[in-house]
Symmetry: D2
Subunit: 365 residues, 4 copies
């Protein structure tokens, strides 16, 4: 029953979109790692609202305040708590919506689950704003992982009908991994990024929104992490990734495409390359039997179109128990997939750090 994930490394997120603050408590961070705030802010800024015309104009600098867990910027092993104060909350935007649940938002299900007491202003605890604390956790995890040669990166794989190129199966370097994150629009191929931009602007100009797919990979992950069946790498990653609002699908390696393949196409032949065991292709996405193979962990995440749209929609009045319509004004991203890119990286980073902390099955024996 908790807004928390992880086994040895536990990430617990708190806050409501229009409450006084949002934040994260991380238990199990290894001690002795210096956290660079500048580096962390680079990740935070990629997720931050108000950055450009494709995302919500809500203005939040989103600078984390560290309450515990760091001494002189170095992790001291006790739980790290970081909070971000909410400043630019316009709750009046939501007052009319309390009685009329917004389609494909959590308004109705939360009203039932929390007996009418949920603070749903701006989406409350269900808001995409809660991914800011996730990015704090992820940014810290990435800095620690980098000390162990593990790097994570993601890019927009598709928006509507436009596809980006995929990460290369062979020769996926750190440079390629992080390249999209440094751009104004996070694709590998800039021209396809431009087309996606147009697609999003077109949806926005129609008072509409659009969905997208994010591809994420991690390199440098050692062989042998994870466990069979229900405690494997895919179980943990998928469970955590569905914690990002709007995620509706998660696939690894060839994913749903594998359903169309024959075994002879899909199987990844083992090779020996410069004294390491690798595979020729990576349809398995770096995980076999729940355990890392040493190949890049490769996954894709489907993000639904932003449910908040300006177009008129049919809904109901909960109090009058009758049909009605609503049009959502407020401030919304026409395509949340863009800002979700660093969030996917963040979640993947925390799960991999968790796996690394546990080590292989026999631990240190």
């Amino acid at each position: 029953m908790s807004s928390e994930y992880g086994t040895k490394l536990k990430v617990s997120v708190f806050g409501e979109s229009h409450g006084s603050a949002i934040g994260v408590v991380i238990n199990g961070l290894p001690a002795g790692y210096k956290i660079e705030t500048d580096e962390l802010m680079k990740l935070m800024d990629r997720r931050r609202p108000g950055a450009n015309n494709l995302v919500t104009p809500r203005k939040e600098r989103d600078v984390p305040v560290f309450l515990s867990g760091l001494k002189d910027s170095v992790t001291c092993g006790s739980p790290l708590c970081a909070m971000i104060e909410n400043h630019d909350a316009h709750s009046s935007d939501y007052s009319a919506l309390l009685d009329t649940p917004r389609p494909s938002h959590a308004d109705y299900t939360a009203a039932v689950a929390f007996k009418g007491h949920a603070d749903m202003r701006g989406g409350g605890h269900f808001s995409g704003r809660l991914t800011a604390p996730l990015c704090i956790a992820g940014g810290i995890a990435m800095q620690i992982l980098a000390h162990h040669g593990i790097y994570i990166g993601a890019h927009i794989s598709s928006i509507g009908s436009i596809d980006d190129v995929a990460f290369p199966t062979v020769g996926l370097t750190r440079e390629i991994l992080v390249s999209a994150g440094k751009k104004g629009f996070p694709t590998l191929d800039d021209s396809r990024g431009s087309s996606m931009r147009s697609e999003i602007e077109s949806a926005a100009s129609d008072n509409d929104s659009i969905g997208g797919v994010i591809e994420c990979a991690a390199i440098g992950v050692p062989v042998g992490l994870g466990e069979p069946m229900f405690d494997g790498v895919e179980n943990r990653l998928s469970s955590a990734l569905f914690g990002i609002p709007a995620v509706k699908g998660v696939e690894f390696g060839a994913g749903f495409k594998s359903a169309k393949m024959r075994g002879s196409q899909h199987n990844d032949a083992f090779l020996i390359e410069s004294d390491r065991i690798t595979t020729e292709t990576n349809n398995h996405g770096g995980v076999l039997g729940g355990i890392t193979s040493g190949m890049p962990i490769l996954l894709r995440v489907a993000i639904k179109p932003t449910p908040s749209i300006g177009k008129e929609q049919r809904t109901i009045s909960l109090s009058r128990f009758e049909s009605t319509t609503l049009s959502i004004s407020g401030r919304h991203d026409p395509c949340i997939a863009i800002r979700a890119v660093p969030c996917v990286e963040a979640v993947v980073a925390t799960v991999i750090l968790d796996l690394l902390l546990e080590g292989t099955h026999n631990g240190n024996l």
Copy 2:
């Protein structure tokens, strides 16, 4: 670190494919429910090896022996343990493979994780055979859920390039849900089922295998179950579903297709229908903000092609650390998706029973 899932209802699977027995321990089963063995065996038989020419000829009756948790066939509230003895294990089939990891199997990753001590005969604990105890748990959960008006069913959604029709968005009845499970080939549309059969036979005759997608739905689930962020219905279902060997993707509602949609297409308008709140479409798959909406829970699972194929494949010798080839004889399903259909139902059933036992956020307060 465990072959276990669940919160209030915990399902823990044990056994190796060629060990003396496989089985399951279920903690948290509600007391006072009569378990009908005949009903349970119907589910078990759908998963059972040796049933027809499309699945492995390994002969196992797979009749569970109950060691605890039942008194006069009624659940008594203490942990239920059921085991299935292994009879028809041909371990000699695997002796040559110990040094040469089979591509896209867990042989290599298990060798590293368990320091060479894993019992990998027949896939060991990683074998699809471990889904038999899952079906025991799922079959029991389904019988309990039926007392509360909750029903679960699944069918093959696609094999290779052939698609079955989808479950209907509106009017998904218990009859439709369970119809595919009663057929020799589990599709909604029989002619498409015939085409899929041909596709599988064609792969088999090429000493090859093929993947597939399974669609599963649950009806009658109350509104308000689950929690936001990391403890929601999608998190739990996906995490458990990736525990079925060969699953490489999980999506809910419109899933990956939602990435191609606009918000105005994807959003599910709220309606009032005979005194109930429903939605006009079900692109959200019955879950909004991690919490059940009362609409059918709808999901699809991608199953990779059986990695064991007769065709020659490239691999390595671990002892000689050099490239080699292997051809897998033994007994294998050309398409494991078929036998995975009841397993998906089983996992979904246990997760929903777990959610039901927890109740809504405030519990019984």
Copy 3:
């Protein structure tokens, strides 16, 4: 791996004694309960440093700032985060101690566990100061439990050789339960309280400290909560209670005394009293087979003497790896048992609320 406890209600504590803030995140709080700050501050004030001459003169008002989880003072179902800023930290007091671990403190074990990176100023995350956030959680839990007729109270049962009277076996009312907590010195019998005071002052004047035992009870707890074996009421309570620094023993009902009793003395005869099933005595402490009996939950907790004493003690220098001595100045309670009384109540309250939220074995089925 976490400073967290609980199943459906999860209490996660963060902070270091001399960091910028300490606090708590509570997941799973039921929605719709108004939290009265005045009531909460009464509990906080009983634990607060600086209240009288028997406790550390460190001055902290310890007023919680709520960052999330409340809307208009009412729980909204999302994680509640409350923090307390640290103001009166005198870190210079500790600078000399870094190399010389204080006997019976966590300095040495933390140095090893956290590889020298633990922030041990004022005891860091191991400090008794971390019980302030526990009291926030407990105070909130108590307010919710009161709505369900469940009340919790505790008193000093012994200090050194002086014993207080025990809670009565029969007729333990809410008034008796909370009476000690309203006094300057938390005993049931005031004259024994005076003797304890003298005992503590005598230890203090010797630059020494003294231990104590706390008795705690809860009334109004329904029958049937908890599970057999490892998930019972005693397992959960003891595990959480050992989280209070300085606790070295936990016993229920007759506890260690039961080891000296015969079955015929120890067994609690069942009675029917005004339409309720009760027991004549309460040697079982309200828990049989891990499950609540409806009788008061009754437990005692042993608190060791404050390890920080003014007397010279033998220790070692970690850097020089040789014997040395130290005398601790700083500000310390001569008897931490006194301030631990509300903390024991707090922990018991959260565990009981957790049990109540889960309900009996079959949940809401």
Copy 4:
């Protein structure tokens, strides 16, 4: 909600006293350890019923059958399941008791929790018989721990008014640790053991029973295992130990005695002894701040007198809702503390192996 404990090593117990079998599933066992059955049976035999005239005459050889987790007697890393078939169950002994809950047994609380469906023949899942599977887990853990220089032993510390000598603070060797376990009556001092025997025989001849205290210690445990607050060594050990039926108190080091001590007496001075950091005394019981200090882990457990006694007792009829009396015949230990000695060792062994598998806070980083 489970009869399970542990973090990385998970021990899950199943079975009812008069069901067809009892057993255990252990997840997370490290791979590659040979398990000696003879060695394991020595521990099992110490717990076994029917061994002498002080324990129940129920005859069960209690030989575990391994269903999974071992290949050629070597742990293979997958979940180990072992079961013991029940043979000598006399259920008729209990038929009269179903309506009249036995005082200080779980009959009444289980009837409420499991809505009348619990199988309470012989105590059902609440029976002391369920400690047999615990001993399987513990015996395996002890064999693995011995490879890492960690040894565990226990003895009866007191029965009624008779005390055994305590484990020595300094110089606690493996020989001393295991000495009591090799004797017919598990004390360090044989003459005190004789007196205890007389005390038990005297209770038995009065159709009564008597309680006892068990002292247990572990040597060779490395420094730095465990975590502060709620995930420390004491939290985990106490939580698991209360899973042994009849345990009513757990204390570490000086335990409840520490409440009577001054800090100057209680504090354990740090010393350097042959290049190791030790403490002069061990009032802390090997744990400081939740983390192991490298000194022996030392704890005591209070065991209540067997609630099943031949003397007439007052109870109620649940069906008639009126007072009545009962006299328990059947077969019962006059002092369950004796057979609980190996069970305490077993639980301590599994918890320490769990801690060892996790390693120190930073894991393998």
